[in-house]
């Protein structure tokens, strides 16, 4: 239960609630649970990209399901984070097609530049670097995912630029 040591402020804004209700409306009235995955994405995006137990409990309450039904889903899918992560998470695809086009070297370069190891977050909480499995961008390798978007045909220079743009607040994480 790693995330009990971190505190998270829960804030379901009216805008977020409107969006959640829109998503719930995509399923029959007695199948609210079906909205769980899309709702978790929205809630996570609005809460610094991670989900604490109290937040998961809140989602359970909204969808009228048991908390365990949320926990078991959150732990199954890789895109839900159960502890705080960097504001900018660089997710490098390292599966075969990207690997043979230099993904491993590029991820090493990025880690070195940020002074962290794969899986770690910079002390200022700005960056996390993780290696992930195939993101479906094999022909545009090497690549990484940052927020809702893909950064493709990467080079060391492009990584440098992206890092600089993150620091300047120029990188858009979500398409809302």
């Amino acid at each position: 239960m790693e995330n009990t040591q971190y505190k998270q402020e829960i804030n379901i804004t009216p805008e977020l609630m409107t969006r959640i209700n829109e998503l719930i409306g995509h399923y029959p009235d007695d199948k609210r649970k079906s909205a769980l995955l899309p709702v978790l994405h929205e809630v996570q995006d609005a809460h610094e990209n991670w989900l604490s137990y109290p937040l998961m409990d809140k989602v359970a309450e909204i969808l009228n399901i048991q908390p365990i039904e949320v926990y078991e889903v959150v732990s199954f899918y890789t895109m839900y984070n159960q502890k705080p992560i960097g504001k900018y998470m660089f997710e490098f695809c390292r599966t075969s097609c990207c690997a043979v086009r230099g993904a491993e070297d590029l991820m090493d370069y990025t880690c070195e530049k940020l002074g962290i190891k794969e899986g770690e977050t910079t002390p200022d909480g700005m960056f996390t670097v993780v290696g992930v499995e195939c993101l479906g961008a094999c022909g545009y390798a090497p690549m990484m995912q940052v927020g809702d978007f893909y950064k493709e045909h990467l080079t060391k220079e492009k990584v440098d630029t992206i890092i600089a743009e993150c620091r300047e607040g120029k990188i858009n994480l979500h398409d809302k």
């Binding site: 994405h41 039904e69 899918y77 895109m79 075969s96 043979v100 094999c138 022909g139 979500h174 398409d175």
Partner: protein, 455 residues
């Protein structure tokens, strides 16, 4: 130039938008189907077309539709599988990103054939920006009257929504996808019952790949027979191939089935040959799950026939000397690729993606990854190669869903065709310490070391 059915309009400026798509003949198949054809007639056209499932399995689409239970009186659903996660595959994303209304049109026409009034597109969570593109396109289609109640004044109504996953390869398996759509973990279900009888919320459901559904409008606008006239034998129509690896022009291509592998690889219209003109070493023609082919079996089959881009030709020779068309994830490797490292890479993927339900897959994928990792890192033993063979043979066929097979096949094929490379790793651990060991010294240059020591 090969004929284009799916991508013929892809370069029209603004084709992403409803207006431009409609001005260029978009949604005509919905008009034709709803006003002039019965649902069964639509299904018949798709059957006649010979269209086969484009997600990887190649099961005939029309036949799959005909299995849907129309007698129970339960609501029926069409679910589009846009979970595209098979390494090497990125074709569906291309369609959805650049011509989203084609998929929506296909969903409406196909839902009409199935009598489905509530349908979903299940897209992988990582494609979040494409999810948003589809969401907006669906809103446009509602506003223009192509979705909702009494479409075109007929008694056919359809609600269509897009649903996002959250990072799980297994959700590309149709019953896991349905579980995930119900808001659960993506654990595949035991079949039977098949989704056609008991699928989403226990209702009759058909799950089809994006590319399969996107082919339906053309089939209805023209005819099943016209579609069947393209291609060779039971490989009818066109196929999207997503090409990656060591080639000059990676990307998504629409080909007429029956094109030769050699032309696809080397002509300027398609892949343009090998990157930096290095020698071709191996090919994975249909996504990471299908057997890898060594250079001498790529352009020709074991019988010496030309290898063609068809379901039949790519699988010619069975697993001994053939592979599969699969999802069309075409991954090309040159002589700097280490097959052991690449096989380990694939095994790590399957280990990570195993849902954990069946012990042969849950435990076996982990074993495969560990044993391959130690061989690749210079700690392998000669008996490890037989151990790998043993593990993969015990996974294959012993699991609820095909993920187990998908994890086993790449390992089996790598050992079958590249055993000497595994032996080299075991015999010369000091030579393979650097992960780029074959970049500086391709295996071809050191192969003789193995030959000398072979008794």
């Amino acid at each position: 130039m090969g004929r284009k059915i799916l991508l013929d309009k892809i370069n029209i400026p603004g084709i992403k938008t409803y207006e431009v798509y409609r001005q260029n003949g978009g949604y005509a198949s919905v008009e034709k189907a709803l006003k002039t054809l019965t649902p069964d007639e639509v299904t018949e056209e798709v059957k006649t077309s010979g269209l086969r499932g484009r997600g990887g399995a190649g099961f005939p689409v029309g036949l799959k539709w005909s299995f849907i239970d129309k007698k129970s009186g339960k609501p029926r659903h069409l679910v589009c599988n846009a979970d595209e996660s098979e390494p090497g595959t990125f074709k569906d994303r291309f369609l959805m990103e650049y011509i989203p209304h084609l998929l929506i049109e296909g969903m409406i026409t196909s839902s009409y054939a199935l009598g489905a009034n509530l349908s979903y597109i299940y897209i992988r969570g990582e494609y979040m920006w494409v999810f948003k593109i589809l969401e907006r396109a669906i809103k446009e289609a509602y506003a223009a009257g192509w979705l909702g109640k009494n479409i075109l004044g007929t008694d056919f109504s359809l609600d269509l929504h897009v649903h996002c996953g959250a990072g799980a390869y297994i959700c590309g398996e149709e019953t896991a996808l349905i579980e995930s759509l119900e808001g659960k973990r993506g654990n595949p279900r035991i079949k039977p019952p098949f989704p056609a009888v008991s699928g989403l919320w226990a209702n009759p459901t058909v799950v089809n790949n994006v590319e399969s559904i996107a082919a339906v409008p053309w089939i209805i606008n023209n005819s099943g027979a016209d579609y069947a006239a393209i291609g060779i034998g039971r490989s009818t129509g066109t196929k999207l191939i997503s090409a990656s690896g060591h080639i000059k022009n990676p990307g998504v291509y629409e080909i007429e089935l029956g094109l030769s592998v050699e032309e696809f690889m080397n002509s300027d219209e398609y892949l343009g040959g090998m990157m930096n003109d290095r020698p071709l070493k191996a090919l994975v023609p249909g996504g990471s799950s299908v057997p890898i082919l060594p250079a001498h079996l790529i352009y020709k089959t074991a019988n010496g026939d030309d290898r063609l881009m068809t379901y039949e030709s790519l699988s010619d020779g069975g697993f001994a000397t053939g592979s599969m068309l699969g999802s069309g994830g075409f991954i090309v490797y040159n002589d700097t690729t280490c097959i052991v490292r690449n096989t380990w890479n694939f095994s790590r993927f399957y280990h990570h993606e195993s849902c954990g339900q069946c012990s042969p897959c849950r435990e076996g994928t982990g074993w495969l990854e560990k044993v391959l990792h130690r061989i690749e890192n210079g700690h392998g033993r000669m008996e490890d190669i037989d151990l790998l063979w043993d593990i993969q043979s015990k996974i294959e066929g012993n699991t609820i869903c095909p993920l187990g097979d998908a994890a086993a096949w790449p390992v089996a094929a790598a050992i079958r065709h590249f055993r000497d490379e595994f032996e080299y790793h075991v015999r010369f651990p000091e030579k393979i310490k650097n992960r780029d060991h074959f970049v500086e010294e391709p295996f071809e240059k050191v192969r003789h070391l193995i030959a000398k020591q072979t008794v």
